[in-house]
Amino acid sequence: MKKISPRMVVAAMLLFAMMLPRSLSAQTDIDALMMAKNAFCVGPMYSYSSWKNYWEGTLKRDNENLGTVSTKMAAVMGNYGISKRLNVLFSVPYVKTKASAGTLQGMDGLQDLSLFLKWRPLQKEMGKGKLSVFGIAGVSFPLTDYTPDYLPLSIGLRSKTALGRLMVDYKLDMGLFATASATYLLRDNIDIDRESYYTTEMHNTHEVKMPDAANYNFRAGFRNRRWIAEAVVNIWNTLGGFDITRNNMPFPSNNMDATMVGANFKYVIPPLPQLQLVAGGNTTVAGRNVGQARTVYGSIFYILDFSRKSKSPNPTSNAK
């Protein structure tokens, strides 16, 4: 492959981010990449997400008393290869929210720790490519006592969650690939600071029943040992919950749905194969009780090899 200068990489990434505004949960628990045995990949991630319009139930509107609502996130993410077929992943985000208009103050704080086990029980040659099947289990729980009952400016929903995901990936030897996954997310009840709240009826308790959610993710593009470029469609579907009533504030147990399309881009710097640059973005094309968010993000991952024998410089075994 022809050598590409870092300047070209940056230019390409910026161009990519501008052309295809953007997906957040990429290169992690929802892609087909596996770390090699005893390799540990870790790095910071930064994302910026904002929306001006949102869906109040199914009605799209703006709100001059919020202006543009933005969420900045800085996270540490990591991925360790227990074996090449079994990885464990984590992420710890710090979140800061802000509304550009109105009087409401933004919030910030450490949000939820996520842990995933990613298992690839099956991988076999098929036609001119390779088919892989993955099973992923994950949990998340809040790291701090932040308040979830301050939407849209709370930093999270503060629900303990557990997810199960089935994922299938097919990659042609030449590099084209497609990945599809379906996820079921269990969400625990949450506590809010209020003693009562109204959904479609009155609840005289500080406990809020959170509906479960499903997530469907499709991604396709090109990947090899140096590059990944992919387009992503992500569908988030809350299984229950209620609509924001007219001119009301959102609530954690709303029926939040979102369909996002975006792209991710990853580059392994040739002279420094332990270093990976990741960037991406997505935009919300349909939704319900959520902001019509556009998100961009970037991260740098560094790969540490804990195995005693020397390893191939390429850490993403599936990308070989």
């Binding site: 227990i82 409401l104 729980f141 932040y146 303990k160 003693e195 007219r246 009301n248």
Partner: protein, 521 residues
């Protein structure tokens, strides 16, 4: 060694994930604090409550209730058989409504009111031209839904329903004692009884009185929710028959009485000046001009587009516990001038609080915020009171009296507070200093004096009288509620919250005075 570490990591992650999944999957259903409380079993039946002082009735017998038929008549026996027929074929739903209503009709109607207030406490969305539509009682189901149950509207609504129920129960108790008809289960010992038995005469039915009074009063207050309200009223009446507590003639007489008494309150409500409390553009302008003429910075709506102030003439509404001249006498002196150093210092104090809010401050801000989409501060104090009353095993009539005292104190607190707010028209901290960002929504009316503080001062004063062993706790709650508005960035500490508490307590004292002299103590 590395492989051991790996195994430890792997298995602990597996175990942890399994534990989280089990916890989440098994722990979904939530229970309201009053969903499963026991049936009301009063320690004292208050058999002489017919002699207590009513709010509007000229006497407990102002509305006649005919003498009941004898319990040996074929008609009465047919009514007993109706109970037996219900009981022979009880559905789960019927069991549920018996249990629900047995906890107490005043409690349940107060909860229903809180639910309707929360449902309707939403400011209307603006028109295309930046003005705001006004909900119409004549067309309650068209957007914007009627009513916008904001804090003053809600305080008044709670008060009318509670006071009507109280007067109606005084009349009911008068006739209960007069006619002394025994409960059906005392007449026919073969009846199943699904509620605690008592020696209270059953004619007219207190539950039907409460249902009739509430339903009639709420036609005016929540005209768009009639199906919901009527369904609750029917449920309550049916629950008493199914439970074996009342025969149909007890129910029918009670409902007629409840409606008749409520009519008297409806008439009062139609003439209490609340209907015109919204004012008009000329008045809104006048308030601003008057404030400027006094040399002060006038209040300006912090919403975009600017929303007209919330019910600027609510201070002129006719109070329950005193006359309109007393409203003016209860109005506190002016806040510090908007151009004074004192006001600037108070403003700076708000800025410093809000710019470094602690988690505990955020908790109390949100605990007491009672803003849009909630049952308002009055509803919050209703909830606090009700949960304490449950423990006291009050009779229905004492429940009604205590809730009515509280609700009237809150409505009158709203009147005095709104009179003060629009007399001085003082700006909010975020208007004086746009750097002040609030931690809950800024209400759309002037700052001085804090509504939460006034409501809480009045409620805590009365509740401390009704349940003296909790007086210190109520005081502490009121102080915290007041403080929440300061640390939330909505009010100045000393002038708005401090003075609000004092004014609220002064209003509360009128309720205490009434409580001492209404014959119930």
């Amino acid at each position: 060694m590395l492989s051991d570490m790996k195994k430890i990591v792997f298995y602990s992650v597996i175990v942890f994930m399994a534990a989280v999944i089990v916890i989440i999957a098994c722990n979904k259903d939530i229970e309201g604090r009053t969903d499963n409380i026991p049936a009301l079993a009063p320690a004292n039946l208050d058999l002489n409550a017919g002699a207590w002082k009513p709010v509007l009735l000229t006497s407990p017998s102002e509305f006649a209730v005919a003498a009941p038929g004898v319990t040996t008549s074929p008609d009465y026996i047919a009514q007993i058989n109706e109970i037996k027929a219900w009981q022979a074929d009880m559905t789960k739903e019927e069991e549920r409504i018996v249990k629900y209503w047995s906890a107490g009709g005043v409690l349940r109607w107060n909860e229903i009111m809180r639910e309707l207030v929360a449902k309707h406490n939403l400011p209307p969305y603006q028109n295309e031209d930046g003005t705001y539509p006004v909900p119409s009682a004549a067309n309650p189901l068209a957007y914007p839904l009627f009513p916008f149950a904001n804090p003053p509207y809600a305080a008044r609504a709670y008060a009318y329903v509670a006071a009507a129920q109280y007067d109606a129960l005084i009349a009911a108790w008068y006739y209960k004692k007069l006619y002394n008809r025994a409960a059906p289960y005392k007449v026919d010992s073969s009846l199943k009884v699904l509620i605690p038995q008592s020696d209270l005469p059953s004619y007219p039915s207190e539950d039907a009185v409460l249902a009739g009074a509430a339903a009639e009063m709420m036609k005016l207050l929540f005209p768009g929710d009639q199906d919901f309200i009527q369904q609750k009223a029917e449920e309550q009446k049916r629950a008493r028959i199914i439970a074996g507590a009342n025969v149909r003639s007890d129910i029918e007489a009670g409902e007629v009485l409840g409606k008749a008494v409520a009519q008297k309150f409806v008439t009062r409500a139609r003439g209490d000046r609340a209907g015109v409390a919204g004012g008009n553009p000329a008045l809104w302008k006048q308030l601003e001009d008057d404030c400027i003429a006094r040399g002060e910075t006038p209040w300006v709506s912090l919403e975009t587009p600017k929303r007209p102030p919330m019910l600027p003439l609510f201070g002129k509404v006719k109070p329950f516990l005193f006359d309109s001249l007393t409203v003016i006498a209860l109005r506190p002196g002016p806040p510090p001038s908007t151009s004074s150093k004192e006001m600037k210092d108070e403003c700076d104090e708000v800025y410093h609080q809000t710019s470094r809010a602690t988690r505990e401050n955020i908790r109390i801000i949100h605990f007491w915020s009672d803003g849009a989409g909630t049952y308002t501060p009055t509803g919050h104090w209703m909830s606090i009171a009700a949960e304490d009353f449950i423990k006291k095993n009050f009779s229905e009539v004492r429940w009604a009296r205590n809730i009515a005292l509280l609700a009237m104190a809150e409505m009158d607190a709203a009147i005095v507070c709104w009179d003060t707010k629009f007399y001085y028209f003082n700006p909010r901290p975020s208007q004086m200093d746009p750097n002040i960002k609030s931690l809950t929504g800024v209400p759309n009316f002037p700052s001085y004096i804090s509504g939460h503080s006034t409501f809480s001062g009045a409620a805590s004063k009365l509740l401390g009288h009704l349940i003296p062993e909790r007086a210190a706790a109520y005081d502490a709650m009121a102080e915290e509620a007041a403080r929440s508005r300061f640390v939330g960035g909505l009010h100045y500490n000393k002038s708005d919250c401090g003075v609000g508490l004092v004014v609220g307590r002064n209003v509360g004292n009128y309720a205490v005075q009434r409580a001492k002299t209404d014959g119930a103590e």
